[in-house]
Homo-oligomer: 744 residues x 2
């Protein structure tokens, strides 16, 4: 017994085998791989022979005597009752599209009249590659009057060889594309129709039915948040609001398939696709390209050479169709592009949704309710050490659903956000977070409520940094962040401020209680009681166009009975909408004396030549004024973003005005600058009437003009807009629009 024996062979281990390792499979781990593709189908046999023999022998009927199916009519024309009743007529699709929990009709033609007592058949609805009755991926529907557990069927009409069958999918069934079969039971086995593409159907979420988790009991909101393609997204500054038109295009040809492809691409199990919580959470991850090669690549650098500038898009259709065909992330997006395309996804699947804009949105704070601004001992901002930023605005989505996973009271609007955040639970996704939970500080519930709470409730804390590196809080601004939340009003083109759904009014008892509640769940706040200066600093609201010189008038108000002297630092910066500074173009440090109970204006002249060459795409100027009151040592400060107004393109629509009559849209633009604009793209589209169109101009010299004309034929009536963007590296965010009403 030793390892010298010839029968035991110790040796140097062999080198590892060469070549790629074998693909690790599910063998030994799961019985079947999880079905996660809606476009892979199972093989369903045309004839399923029974193992146990049925009646046989002489005198027994032959297979030929059983019911045979000659034809199935899905009743899928846009003007047939299925599509009108289910609010799906607008989808440009060759297939039947219905909503769950609501009856639709199909017509089946047999080889002979159907005999209730003798003939047994089922209409089968199958989704994904692993159909199972208990998972909801295989759903047989029988013509019966009994109440069935989930899917139900009944015969609504019979004539000759033809029956009309009403089918009601379960109100919580999987959403996606199903295959349909008709199966006839015979004693020999099941005889089934062949797979035929034309009988495929889409089943969507149904906000019109109370049993559906996305039920929204308000027809005007439903029309807006499910059926409306025309979007308005707000940006700019809270006191100088700008609008951006967007064509959600959720009914456009190919968009529905693209939305299903997004879920397939994320390998989301088919069986989870009936749950709007899971669908929206997964989609918030998939709309950005992080982690899973999702739809949109974020880019905030100003260099969009290798894609389309975020400011240039006019709608979601191009983006979704490009993603579905190229199977590669689309370049480039910023927050409103993520929110707009996410909105298309949600409305297309039937989940009520809207895009909202939060003005002064705190970011990357990771549930810590503070944005830090560091000043040196004299009150001047310390640019090297100030690393937090507040976005001038940030767009996200709200979607409407019940929340059975939470205690009662947290259903309704939910925040989801597809813009990749740095620190939302280590992942690039956010939500659904109950808006009501955010309002009440109930941050213990999934998903990411604390993160959204911080976006609307953070304090801005000014610290004075001592020479030894320690810091002292000198001022807390509790009202700067989350100033206003805007969304398009249902049913018209106006805006609506919904901040009251996120916060109780500033200064109320409820507001204080909520902040205390939030702290219980770990949100940290600056709580020092800080001395309030008796000097106020006020900056005016200004509307300025790009290229203008203007006066910035600082008002100093002394509320004390003594004279006050303020050593003031005025810093003018070009900023991205994310609050990140590009460069400082103006610096002044006046010393201002104010008599007792008096006020003084200090005028700063801002010249366009100083800021023009620094401008980044959204042309925001951020003024930060800080100062130290000599007599008291108090720090005063005020910040203001001024959004410079860009030139516009002029869009005009003429001719026609009726369905199927040709119309003309023209875009006009005059380069108002002395510089030549190069590599200019103009994009134009019109929700419901004009698909996306693009025109390229290699150069537009200073002062020159262009006119671009396109013809189009509207195919449906209604009020809408045609709008255009102009985009080039030197000038972005140029918009124009025309309202159009198409008569029937």
């Amino acid at each position: 017994m030793s390892d010298q024996s010839t029968t035991v062979a110790p040796s140097v281990p062999p080198p590892p085998p060469t070549g790629p390792p074998p693909k690790v499979t599910n063998r030994g781990r799961t019985v079947a791989p999880t079905a996660s593709s809606n476009f892979e189908a199972a093989d369903v046999p045309e004839f399923e022979r029974f193992d146990v023999a049925g009646p046989r022998g002489p005198g027994m009927p032959s297979l030929a005597e059983y019911l045979d199916i000659w034809d199935v009519d899905m009743l899928k024309k846009p003007d047939e009752s299925n599509k009108t009743n289910h609010h799906t007529s607008l989808y440009q699709s060759d297939y039947l599209i219905v909503r769950r929990g609501q009856e639709f009709q199909i017509k089946i033609t047999f080889n002979r009249p159907y005999k209730l007592a003798e003939d047994k058949f089922a209409v089968e609805f199958v989704i994904g590659s692993s159909p199972q009755f208990s998972k909801g991926t295989y759903n047989p529907v029988f013509p019966t009057k009994e109440r069935q557990t989930s899917w139900s069927g009944r015969i609504t009409d019979e004539s000759d060889n033809v029956i009309t069958m009403g089918i009601t999918p379960a109100a919580n069934c999987i959403v996606g594309k199903y295959h349909m079969y008709v199966a006839v039971m015979t004693p020999f086995g099941i005889r089934r129709t062949k797979r035929e593409n034309s009988r495929d159907l889409y089943i969507l979420f149904n906000p019109w039915v109370s049993a559906d988790a996305v039920f929204l009991d308000d027809e005007e909101e439903r029309k807006e948040c499910v059926m409306t393609e025309m979007g308005i997204i707000y940006h700019g500054a809270y006191d100088d609001i700008s609008e951006r038109n967007w064509n959600y295009g959720q009914f456009n040809y190919g968009v529905l398939d693209a939305c299903l492809y997004i879920m397939d691409r994320s390998e989301m199990p088919i069986i989870n696709r009936g749950d709007p919580i899971k669908v929206t959470r997964q989609a918030s991850a998939m709309l950005n390209s992080h982690d899973e090669d999702g739809v949109l690549v974020g880019n905030w650098t100003g260099d969009y050479t290798y894609g389309v500038a975020p400011t240039s898009w006019t709608g979601s259709t191009d983006i979704l169709l490009t993603y579905a065909s190229s199977k590669l992330p689309v370049c480039f997006a910023q927050c409103w592009v993520y929110a707009a395309v996410f909105n298309t996804f949600l409305r297309c699947l039937g989940i009520p949704s809207r895009v909202v804009t939060n003005y002064y949105s705190a970011h990357d704070n990771d549930g810590n309710l503070k944005t830090d601004i560091l000043l040196d001992e004299n009150g001047r901002i310390d640019r090297n050490r100030t690393k937090d930023s507040i976005w001038n605005y940030h767009c996200w989505n709200e979607c409407y659903m019940s929340r059975p996973d939470l205690p009662p009271g947290f259903g309704g609007w939910q925040v989801v956000d597809a813009t990749p955040q740095e620190t939302s639970d280590g992942m690039y996704r956010c939500g659904p977070a109950s808006v009501n939970a955010i309002k009440h500080g109930q941050l213990c519930f999934p998903f990411d409520a604390a993160f959204v709470f911080a976006e609307v409730n953070s304090d801005v804390v000014f610290y004075s940094r001592r020479k030894d590196g320690t810091m002292q809080a000198v001022k807390v601004d509790r009202t700067h962040v989350g100033r206003m939340i805007l969304t398009k009003a249902a049913g018209d083109m106006t805006r609506r401020n919904i901040i009251d759904q996120y916060k109780f009014p500033e200064g109320t008892t409820e507001e204080r209680t909520v902040l205390e509640k939030a702290e219980e769940f770990g949100c940290k706040r600056e709580k020092s009681e800080l001395p309030v200066a008796d000097v106020d600093l006020i900056l005016p609201t200004l509307e300025i166009s790009v290229g203008d010189n203007f006066d910035l008038s600082l008002e100093f108000v002394n509320r004390s009975d003594q004279q006050r002297t303020v050593d003031t630092y005025v810093s003018g910066n070009v900023v991205y909408y994310t609050g990140v500074n590009s460069s400082e173009f103006l610096f002044r440090n006046p010393t201002v004396k104010i008599g007792p109970n008096n006020s003084v204006k200090e005028v700063i002249v801002v010249q366009s030549k100083n800021y023009m060459r620094h401008l980044v795409e959204q042309a925001n100027l951020n003024f930060i004024v800080t100062g130290k009151v000599k007599e008291t040592g108090h720090i005063v400060s005020v910040m203001k973003v001024i959004t410079l107004h860009n030139p516009k393109v002029i869009v005009e629509v003429s001719g026609g005005g009726r369905v199927n009559e040709e119309m003309m849209a023209t875009v006009q633009f005059t380069n108002p600058f002395t510089i030549t604009l190069e590599d200019v793209y103009i994009r134009m589209e019109g929700p419901g009437i004009m698909p996306p169109k693009t025109k390229y101009y290699s150069l537009i010299t200073g002062g020159s003009s262009l006119i671009w004309t396109e013809f189009f034929t509207p195919h449906r009536p209604g009020s809408t807009r045609v709008f255009a963007t102009l985009d080039c590296p030197a000038l972005r965010q140029v918009f124009g629009e025309a309202s159009v009403t198409i008569n029937p």
Copy 2:
């Protein structure tokens, strides 16, 4: 004015530029990239000149007159009080390792005696590439008696030029590797010590201090769950438990750095690394290779050619060091490997943790409390359609911490699971989920509580499938899943059943209430009241060795006053521990008649030749017996896993028995089979006394034996084990061990 003008140039858009697109940066999005590497350091200047001039002119002291630092002694030897007081003496490391919230000492030698009134200095602790006071990544500590907000310092001893300073890091400070500097304030600026590696220190979580979120107020548990390297992991079947030894090795050289590397690799922001909730959640994602190239590649196929078989590992050290040096995922793992390496990670960083084993663990159920078994109309199992499986056992981790993000009552033990699950929130990570929340059905709180709840509470539902494809539930087994949860007892080598921490006893009112609560949060259960058969079916508990023939005796008990006839189907299957069937090696269908109030035994002879060639690695046989009672139509069924016992290796330790005396370990093995074993690896290690060792044998012929001898020298006293595994494609899961006590 037209686009024919030479100054406006419409044209075909240029082709996209060639070459790779530029790397998208953070420019315009965030001020600074998020620091997420513990091994990248910021440049801290040696002299930081003040912008504003200090006192100057004749008569002013020169820089030379200010305090200068000659030496800093970190007092980091294993037997010095820092390491003994902080329970870090066992770490094999050249650096100081301390725990947060608890004072440690350093000695600073100046160029002259320190003068309290005149000299100003700070000891600075810096972590990551973007040090900021307000983020806790830059922490200056002054020698003061004032209470400081977070980190504090005091002078504990002074003699000549040397002071001893006591430093207490904040009890919630970031965990990781810090750099230390001493900074002296002068009127000219800050004079700082050079970066010197030897002054780096690690700060860990501290379960001994009540202010730390991981405080565990039980010395015996703390010793087990933080300090113990010797692990026992349970597997096998709930009525025939097997043990596996594991060396967590959390104090071994390089392991702590490997754990920090794991967080760096996941790009976890440095500022989140003081929060045990975030650290454990991130780690549960990073321990598996899905999504982020994490530590371990899962493989359940039985083919481990390209790596180490999961059954072959003896400890975590090899795995962690390989990952940190190769920066590639390590092959291969199954659940206990994930749990064991995760345990090392947690204990190494100071978070109390243990590995637990759940017997009959329901999987891939996605919060749906049902595992479906499909029978045909006659009661025979339908293998093609039964797609759910129940793991014979599943291992996960519990870790101990407060949960400030949840309402009171949910702190304490938390489930985290690093084994990649299919459907935990779309991601391959799970937890932390409060054990107490699981017990009380409070599934609305993060993270993944519903998923873990299903693992221990699912019902097994037997369906009878009708010919038309519909299904009817015929039997529900509510007690099969989550039969027992075992973990190693604190302080000794015995096991402890902690199922009462997860569930109220079967049949109690509390249990029913909890299940109802869980249903409120969306867990679906089979609720039909099903008829109970009056015939019981009982399978015996058997202990069988691989290669044995044995009798399986089925007992039929008739509890009625009439005769009963049961058409029975007995199916014997080789299964993976995941409950997935490899192949059916036995099938019988006896018809059994039982007299009124009588019982009958039906004996099935199982021959090894039938199962041997099908065996997969853990050699489990699963018997499913189903039957239909002719007289009543009721379905009866019973399932049982029989774990075949493998041969063992014999480990013997001799000689020495004292610290620093050489000892000898021998491994003996005899191949009990007639076949030759090829490509055999034997691994051996001993927690605290022997590093991992491996021996390779190209072949061991049938009946032959081997002896392998290794010498080792223990460096510390205590009771421990030396254990070995033997592994080859034809035979896995062969273990052996020897207990050893080392005297001082």
